[in-house]
Symmetry: C2
Subunit: 128 residues, 2 copies
Amino acid sequence: MSNRRDAVHEILRQSEGFRSAQDVYAEMRAEGAKIGLTTVYRALQALADKGHVDVLRTDDGESVYRACASGDHHHHLVCRRCGRTVEVAGPAVERWAEAVGSEHGFTEITHTVEVFGTCSSCSTAARS
Amino acid sequence: MSNRRDAVHEILRQSEGFRSAQDVYAEMRAEGAKIGLTTVYRALQALADKGHVDVLRTDDGESVYRACASGDHHHHLVCRRCGRTVEVAGPAVERWAEAVGSEHGFTEITHTVEVFGTCSSCSTAARS
DNA sequence: GCGTAAATGAAAACGGTTGTCAAAATCGAG
DNA sequence: CTCGATTTTGACAACCGTTTTCATTTACGC
């Protein structure tokens, strides 16, 4: 049905970290793919809606997407320099969030947790 | 020096939860204050830079600000319905983030953690 | 007062994202 | 296969929050 959507998904699968829509678009065009920016946005939204990719917002308000290996709830450890991303589970955090919430009478607790750092290759490279 | 900045800060102090720039601007104008949108943005940025207010991004990319009681590192438990916000400390989470990071060879770990839920008043009100 | 520096705000610019709409591809009978 | 209906696509314009520009106003030091 949607060859385009699959193409976009494929780009994300081949990526190490989170990618922006424009970023994905640029790469596809560079590879010679015939696709419009609008379609990339639509494909990413659709993939996000169906839970096939994870989305998060950068500090400057851009939406970035990533095809994650795990379909289950997980968090990300992202290298702030190269973008390399590791999926991490955090049972301790889940429990903590739940506890903090109910402690204050809140229900239907959800949470967002992202961890940033400098990965070993980048910190080695930076030692100049 | 800057009466405007203080006025903006004051609005935030009187607010329960996070407020957007436009939101603050609208309220100030409604109160009859003579201020421009640009100045509100500048004041909020300045306050954020100096650490006097906390900033976070909503899912739709808006920046929202809050004058927090604690100057120390803390997280927020936000009611997704009314916006009421509780500041929470999470030593366990800090340690977890640090551990997860170094476990994968990452250094200079930082993290963002926000907890959302429905507060007791809102969940009572919703039982209609 | 008076000159210089900082603050202010209206309007224009910006950048990511979303909407519009007509053309192109796809599908489903017949 | 053919024709019409439906879906997908993409160029372009519209949007919206935010930032920049720049001329004007205000505050400060002397």
